[in-house]
Amino acid sequence: MEGPIRAREALALTLFSLLFFLSRSSALHDLLISNAERRIDLSSHIVKVYLTLKVENAGSSPASEVVLAFPPSQVDHLATVEALATKGKRKKTTFVRLEVKPTELPDAPNDTKYFTIYLANPLNSAESITLEVLYMLTHSLEPFPAEIGQSESQLVYYRDSALVLSPYHIKQQTTFIKTPSTKVDSFTRVEPTNRAGTEIKYGPYEDHTPYSFSAILVHFENNSPFAVVEELVREVEISHWGNLQVTEQYKLVHAGARHKGVFSRVDYQSKPSFNGVSSFRYLLARLPPRVHSVYYRDEIGNISSSHLRTDSRKSELEIEPRYPLFGGWKATFVIGYGLPLQDFLFESSEDRRYVNFTFGCPLMETVVDKLTIKVVLPEGSKDPSAVVPFPVDQHLETKYSYLDVVGRTVVVLEKKNVVPGHNSHFQAVLFCPN
């Protein structure tokens, strides 16, 4: 008797799963993109891609998710994906931020990775919605030649697809690639392709099936500072005495084409427009307003070349490493500053207090490979936690500072591949016993 029952169960199970998959895949295929416009900004070493999708529901059931696809080579360099839904028309357009999460789909061809955009309101059949997607890629420009001399400028490769990779059918699509200058050595032609000034236009292409891919390679000049912070440790120490002390330890590297051969100071100083164009001397750090006691030093002492400009809304610290950074050169330094605590400490209900502080690196236009934020709470704070708008690794530590007895709780947040887009606020909650 047992045999048939088992068989029936198994059959039911397979049926269910089949149904499930069917419904799932139908949800995928019911949607189609009537128009896709992609603008790839290659002017700095962080690649910013603005993708405008007009999504239509061609199926019968309402859809609440839109899936974005990325080739596996891009996913490793993908720093952030954000999506906005456009509402209203023309002048009265408003944007609604949508939740984006990485997802796994079972039948992904060639290890394609997915991000799902969760729509605020389900998209009913025959309705359409315009989505604005912004994603940033780091380490996606490959210097070629990989080693350059002092007087050469830096050429890089950018690899992508002429067609937007998507699990949906795309009716019409165009891709614009913006290069930093008109010096473009070569680019792959996928007709129709146009180049005008600093812009290369791929498309419009009509009616491409899901997962269409057409590899392109752009070889162009990019002398923007390839400033990469390999490791950044930010320590935010909250004092009982009304001060917030921030200490940031940087390991900076120039991630562009490696410097080769001589470095001649006389050439560098006398002909700045021809020499070391890909190198950089200055970095700009944007600090919160009302910053005080700023210092900038490294392990062998103070670095005297920095300027601080403050006004009521922001403070700008212009720092100059001890030497100009050429490709592959490294430098380490520490920036520290104090801030008035009342600008950052807030009180919520239930007597909980929280600190609202900026995540990310204050340096402009830099990529941080590994960012660690340590929020040192005052001695005696209980049940600390942190609320961050994007996924990070969290754990707790204990630190002993001046004459501490029980030690201070430290909330440690770690994230890899951080771009300026991550400079949003996060909250560290501390529960102060009164």
Binding site: R265, I300, R322, A331, L403
Partner: protein, 787 residues
Amino acid sequence: MSAPEASSAAVPTLMTNNTLRNAFGGVLSFFILLLIAVLAFSIRLFSVIKYESVIHEFDPYFNYRVTQFLTKNGIYEFWNWFDDRTWYPLGRVIGGTVYPGLTLTAGTIWWLLNSLNIPLSVETVCVFTAPIFSAFASWATYLLTKEVKGAGAGLTAAVLLAMVPSYISRSVAGSYDNEAVAIFALIFTFYLYIKTLNTGSLFYATLNSIAYFYMVCSWGGYTFIINLIPMHVLLCIVTGRYSSRLYIAYAPLVVLGTLLAALVPVVGFNAVMTSEHFASFLVFIIIHVVALVYYIKGILSPKMFKVAVTLVISAGLAVCCAVIAVLIALVASSPTKGWSGRSLSLLDPTYASKYIPIIASVSEHQPPTWPSYFMDINVLAFLVPAGIIACFLPLSDASSFVVLYIATSVYFSGVMVRLMLVLAPAACITSGIALSQAFDVFTRSIKFQLPGLSSNTEVDAGETSSATKEAQNDAVKTEKAEETSKDRPSRKSKKKEREHVEKPSTKTKAEKKRLLALPLEASVISLLLLVFLGAFYVVHCVWAAAEAYSAPSIVLTSHSHDGLHVFDDFREAYAWLRHNTDVDDKVASWWDYGYQTTAMANRTVIVDNNTWNNTHIATVGTAMSSPEKAAWEIFHSLDVKYVLVVFGGLVGYPSDDINKFLWMVRIGGGVFPHIKEPDYLRDGQYRIDSQATPTMLNCLMYKLSYYRFVETDGKGFDRVRRTEIGKKYFKLTHFEEVFTTHHWMVRIYKLKPQKNRIRGKTKKSKSKTSSTSSSKRSGTRKKNPWH
């Protein structure tokens, strides 16, 4: 000597009044000492305020690096530390060749602070060690001078020492050098010696040995102590001041001190083997003989004693002669006569310049000039003679020590600028004595002549001192009278003096008139002048601390019409080396920059400031003074990858390598005779302009310094030498410029690798693919300079 008893008996009511005043004086002294410590500490902070909290100069960087190692790896690792980052390929055993006192002190402070959860960095602790110890040193000066001439002189001496420029120059915040703690140890050892001499207590004698041990740990200058104290003991014996207290003060110090000194690895058996210590052993023998003589003299009758003396002397002389002959033969058999080079140059000031160019090349080993005396001890130079005279009124064991100390240190400071540091405490002590005695005399005469004040002298402090003075005069007389009784302890007289202070005698007016009382106007004016002198000293010291001695020398500043200019080129270069070269690369530079390179750039150096291997330094000197190819070969044989030169010609930084270059030639030529100094001089003149010799214009140092220099201004004008350079356009074939700092002060070159030419060869053979005959190959090989 019946005066004190009589006075105390006469005025018993004064006792309570007096203890109160004493207590008040004690509290006041305590607060004055605290203030002195604050002064000593804070006057040394100019460098931190004007520049930054950073380690200064050259040697402190080594000490800092050693301290970092100590705090990271612990004491046992430290003793066994073999440093392979320096003296490549020889290395250096740090634990056995370093005076560990400073490092251990700072390491202990750091450990203590961190175990109290005060997370100061090692650097901060190192920076502030010297100011802290200068506060201790001024306390030690107070104690020492108090033992010699009373609390007033002690306080004055402590104030003077707290801000004496000579000591400030070695102990500003950041100047993390041995001398920072050694001067404290020196004064404290002397204090304990005097204390033992005054009390005869074995407790202080033991403490003295321990203080001496600390001094041995801290500085090579401990030989000054171990020679000065025997000299003083000998002086006491010769002048008939032998006492059991002297024995207690000396014998345990030699025995315990030598044993302890031998525990320090860097000293080891040197404590009994080298000539620097022989004086102490000789005096040790003498003091025992003298003690024996006194003992026998006590037992025997005078007649018997005379017989015994003649007998012993005739027999003893013969034995002594034999022993001395053997000793001389032993010492003479060693090449340096058992003396180290630095000590020999102390005895014979011309020794170093004749035989050891490395010692002579260091500026702080040069004899000082007169202005440097004025700069470093200022008005103390004029007060010292007065202080010496004051020491003779009366001459006690303690004050004779001070006189001996000042006399010897004046001599040593005349030999080496560096030893001005040893003179400074002596000058402060004698000047403190002089000043306080002068104030005593003047205030007393003023008080004596003011009728309103003289009536109620009993409660006045000035009166006390006058009484003391008087009593002292009495004491001198009685001392002279009692000179025959040799073992009369001067401690007694000291105690009496103290009793005088405690119980001011209400001497009769008649006695007072006996005193030397100066006219009122003269004393008031003299007092004012003394105050002015003091004020001048203070102003000078503050100026010296703020302007002259606070520069860290790794970062330079200059004021011009458009503001402050900072020259941070050294650290720029070191930071570049640290981050952009391979961790095992070897960097060659002149030895001055060795310590800084290992500490700041963390790269292996060929030679450094611990100039222990003359040949190695001479090799680098030879390379720098050789033409490019020969230099390349020398450097390549030493695995050198980068060559660092310091060049001041663009901004006018005078202590650059071109100015030091003649020393490289001399030191190199001392070992490698093919380097001859006259080849680099035109008619005995050192020049780098068009008149310079071809050897000079083709040597590596010239080329590395002036490579492409002409392109900066079109003429190649050297701002240090104030001339246009001789050879303006040239190419480097075996070196390539890899880094030059912003103001060109440091230039780093890389040795071109050998394989470059192989690549060139393959290219050539590729271009001539058809003709690969053996004859052509040999032809190209001949052109190649590396075969």
